[in-house]
Every structure is written in C-alpha cells, then in structure tokens.
C-alpha cells in the first residue's frame, strides 16, 4: 500500500508546509468560486467574472503602492468595477458585455499605470507577472484572516440571495412580477462575484480565478439539473481539481527532473479536460433524440461570441 501510494504521491508531499498552505487556501478559493460560479454561468456573465479578476489586480498594484494590505486593494477595486458594470443602464443584452469590456479596458489601463509607478518607485518588476499568474506556494500569512472572513461573507451572501437570485436569473420577468428587485439583485450578485474573484485572484492568480469560477460550475451544470445539486458538485469538482493540480505539480518535479510544471497550468489543464469530456458525453447522449421528437434548439443565439 505504501509503495502504491508513493507511486502516485512523490515523497514529502504531505509533510511539505507550502503544499499544506496551498491546499487549504486553494481549496477554500475553489469552494467559494464554485458556489458563486454556478450563478455566473447561469446568468451568462463569464466575461464579467473574468474581467473582475483582471481589474481587481489593479487594486493589488495600488495597494503595493500605498503599502496597505493587498487584499483590501483587490476587494476595493473589484467592488468598484462590479458596481460600475451594473450601474450603466443597457437596453440590449449584447450591450452588457460591451460595458463590461469598457470598464475592463479602463481598469486595465489603471493597472498598467499603477504597475508602472510601482516599477519606477520600488522596482518590484515581478509584480505584473505575480498578479497575472499568481503563485500559490508563496501566499503570505498576513492576508489569511481577512481572506477567510471575506470567503465566509461571500458564502453567506449567496445563501441569503439564493432564492431571489435563482428566480431572477432563470426568468427575470416573472421575478419582477413577484416583486423581486431584479436590478438590485443583479448588482448584489456581481458584488459577491467581485469578492469571490478578488479572493481567488490574490491567492491563486487571475488565470486560476477565472478557471475556478467558470470551469467547475459549467461542468456541474452539465451534470446536474437542479441548481442546489450543481452548486454542491461545483464546489467538489473545484476542490478536486485544485488538489489534483497541486499533487500533479508537486509530482512533476520528479518526472521532469527538477523542471516541474506550474500549479496554475496543472489545475487549469485538469478543469479543461474534465469540461471537454463532460460536454462531449452530454453532446453524444443528446445526438440520439427519441424518434418523432425534434432536437431541441441550442441555447443562446448561435452568432453571439463570448
């Protein structure tokens, strides 16, 4: 048994302190992202989810500059961006992504400026790369208490919002008739997304933040019909992918002779592969419609990209 285990897990894996921290923080980020992500996917707001990660990193650069807790910089910028994305009133659904895009462009511009000012004042040249790709094995202990508080706040906000959010995501008109403040709920949802994304962006980087928000939720929604089941599944899949990715990255040092694959690559690859497999199976099972039944039209307009 021990030899079998050591085939899968390279020696020293469980004893390693950075691995343990990464597993705990990465797992927590995966749970929060998975739970929040289900609604992001249902509402078709993947772009906003990704954009918030990019824009909140501008706050990280700003926090560097001011010398305050980086997480509060991420959170502040994320909430600011989420609010401005939702407050611009749009007539067409296609314009929503446009507003998201423009806010993102402006936010990234600010990020470029702040990074530049950082580079010129304190020569932290690696900041751009750290913020973009994150580095799970170098999470600083100072942000952990605030990170846990924010994660719990995001989860409990989802609990409170669950029913009105579900109704206004699936049928906004019906929700409005029932007296649900659809726009306010939309704003609150995006703010919670901003919290979750800022949390994962600072701990695991902007790439993984998007991967953990969208990937597990999309896989879960392909597997489960009921939203509550999908939320549970998304959290489980997210944690499994994160831990699997950490293990893979750790083991890869052995296989590749000390060259190792980055954790973010391993986690993203696992999520991507799982999504392709699940979507393929689902497509295959949908290809044989019962005789006499017309195949259901695909969801969404066929021409809308992204």
């Amino acid at each position: 048994m021990t030899t079998l285990l050591s085939l899968v897990v390279a020696p020293g894996f469980f004893a390693s302190e950075p691995v343990r921290t990464a597993a705990v923080i990465g797992g927590a980020a995966a749970i929060v992202s998975g739970v929040v992500g289900v609604f992001t996917v249902i509402r078709g707001q993947s772009f906003a989810g990704h954009a918030l990660a990019d824009v909140s990193s501008a706050g990280g650069a700003g926090a560097f500059l001011l010398g305050i807790n980086p997480l509060s910089g991420f959170l502040l910028m994320g909430v600011l961006a989420a609010t401005s994305m939702e407050l611009v009133r749009v007539d067409r659904p296609s314009e929503r992504d446009l507003v998201t895009g423009i806010v993102t462009g402006a936010g990234l511009g600010v990020a470029a400026l702040l990074l530049y000012l950082n580079v010129t004042t304190s020569s932290t040249t690696g900041a751009a790369v750290t913020i973009m790709f994150g580095s799970m094995f170098t999470i600083s202990a100072s942000i952990v208490p605030l990170a846990i508080a924010v994660g719990l706040a995001a989860l409990s906000a989802m609990g409170v919002l669950y029913r009105p959010l579900l109704l206004s995501s699936l049928d906004p008109n019906l929700a409005a008739v029932q007296g649900v403040p659809v726009r306010l709920i939309g704003l609150l949802h995006l703010i919670v997304v901003a919290l979750a994304v800022a949390l994962s962006a600072i701990t695991v980087g902007a790439i993984l933040s998007t991967a953990l928000l969208i990937g597990p939720a999309a896989i879960a929604l392909n597997l489960a019909k009921r939203p509550s089941v999908a939320i549970f599944l998304a959290a489980v899949i997210g944690v499994a992918a994160t831990w699997g990715g950490i293990l893979l990255a750790y083991d890869s040092y052995e296989w590749t002779g000390g060259h190792g694959w980055p954790v973010s690559f391993c986690i993203v690859a696992l999520i991507f592969a799982a999504y392709v497999v699940v979507a393929e199976i689902r497509l295959g099972s949908r290809r044989q419609p019962e005789p006499g039944l017309k195949p259901r039209p695909r969801e969404g307009r066929a021409t809308t990209a992204g």
Partner: protein, 271 residues
C-alpha cells in the same frame, strides 16, 4: 516626439489603430467583446512559446490566436459560448504560465507584451505589419455584407445561405488576424481596448453601418495618436491613456445620444 526613431512608431501605431477600429466595429455589433478580450490575451503566451522554440514572435502569436479561434468555436458548439471563451482563454494562459516557467524571459518583456510599449518599432517590422494589416482589412471589407447581415439578423442571413456558424468562425479569424497585427506593437490589453472602445463610441453616434465603420477607425486612430503624445509628454504608460480615452469616448458618445433623445422628446412635446 517626431524624431527619426519615432516615425516608425507613428506608422505602426496608425496601422494597428486602423485595423482595430475596423474589426472593432463588428466586435461591437456582435456584442463579442469577450472574444475580443480573450483572443489577444490568449495569443500572448504564443510570443513566449516562440521565444522558447526559437521562431519568429509573429508566428507564435498567429498560432496561439489560431488555437483560441479553434477552442472558442469548437467548445462553443457544445455549450455556452461565454463558458467556451473563458475556458479556452484560461487553458491557453495556463500554457503561457508553463512556457514562462521554462524561459528566463525578463519581466519587462512580459509587461510590454501585456500592456504595450509602443516605442521600439524597427523599420524591418513595418513590412510584415503593413502586409498583415492589409490582409485583415481586406478580409473584413470582403466579408462586410454577409458578416453584417448575419450579425444583425442570423435568421435572414440563413435564408440567403449565409451560415451563422461559418460567419462566426470567419469573424473570429478576422479578430485573430487583427490581434496578430497589433499584439507585438501595442500589447495584448491595448488591442482589446482599441477594438471595443472606439467602435462602441462610434455606434452611439451613428446607426449607419459604413459610416460607423469609418468613424470607429477614425476614433481609434485619434485615440492612439493622443495616447502616444500624452504618454510621451508625461512618461506614463500608453496603456493607461488608451484605456482611459476609450472609456471617456464611450461615455461622451452615450451622453451625446442621451442629450439628443432628450432634445428630440422636448421638441415633440413643444409641438
């Protein structure tokens, strides 16, 4: 600012801005700003991969934006399009993280690829840049009518046998080409700002397609010129100015459209 070494920069930036403005027009009417964000960003690891393999950067960027197009259109057939875009993007960026861990690429180069460093365009870079710009503008103009029709009304387009799926792929190819033109010059994030901002502003000003296309290209070129000048004067990064000016342009356009509507309804009321 107009020294000899800056002339190449002005020419390159103008070409890039023109292409981004023209292509951006379709990005905006299709509401495809996520694709316009994802393709440049996922093409950026291509530059790192090209350095690793030792081929020209342009080839790497072209290859990776090709992967992006394939990922978005293939995965998009199996489910939600925004999910497909997001997952293709993170997969390619994940590969980027892998390549970057292999190279000893200095951070300044990565910063330049992301946020742009318009200075330092050599004379030898101009010829391929001009050729690619010409190809992508020609392709956009050749596709203008079917692409416009299938963007505005996919059902109508299908009745004259313009397949929405083929148009979608062709549209992504056009965006990918524009990306390859612009990325080495202005960086991944600026390409996106230039494709979305000016075209959105143009659409608030006119609803006529051809006029929109030209206004979009014009606003884009003016934005880039102003940004280079401001960046030169203040020493701040050009990316900041392009992002800020694009957002301001869109806000101004929205305000203008709003004022016009208000004026119109007041005019009606007074009659």
């Amino acid at each position: 600012m107009f020294d000899d070494f800056m002339v190449n920069t002005w020419i390159a930036a103008t070409l890039v801005a023109g292409v981004a403005g023209v292509v951006g027009f379709f990005v905006v009417i299709r509401g495809a700003s996520f694709a316009a964000h994802a393709l440049p960003l996922s093409a950026f690891p291509g530059a790192a991969a090209a350095n690793l393999v030792g081929v020209d950067q342009l080839i790497g960027v072209l290859a990776f934006s090709g992967f992006g197009v394939a990922g978005i259109s293939q995965l998009g057939r199996r489910g939600r399009r925004d999910v497909a875009t997001a997952l293709s993007l993170v997969m390619l960026l994940g590969l980027g993280a892998l390549f970057l861990s292999r190279t000893t690429e200095y951070f300044q180069a990565i910063y330049a690829l992301l946020f742009g460093e318009v200075l330092g365009v050599g004379a030898q870079d101009l010829a391929p840049l001009a050729a690619l710009s010409a190809v992508s503008i020609a392709l956009t103009l050749a596709l203008f009518r079917p692409l416009l029709l299938s963007s505005v009304s996919p059902e109508l387009a299908e009745t004259i046998s313009v397949s929405p799926r083929v148009m979608e792929v062709l549209f992504l190819v056009v965006v990918a080409l524009a990306t390859a033109v612009a990325l080495p010059v202005v960086g991944a994030l600026l390409v996106f700002s230039l494709m979305v901002g000016p075209a959105s502003a143009a659409r608030t000003l006119t609803s006529r397609p051809l006029a929109g296309l030209f206004i979009s290209a014009a606003i884009s070129i003016v934005t880039v010129w102003a940004s280079i000048a401001l960046s030169f004067a203040s020493d701040w990064p050009i990316g900041f100015f392009v992002g800020a000016l694009s957002a301001l342009g869109y806000l101004a356009g929205r305000t203008w459209a709003w004022v016009e509507i208000q004026g119109l309804s007041q005019f009606r009321r007074s009659r």
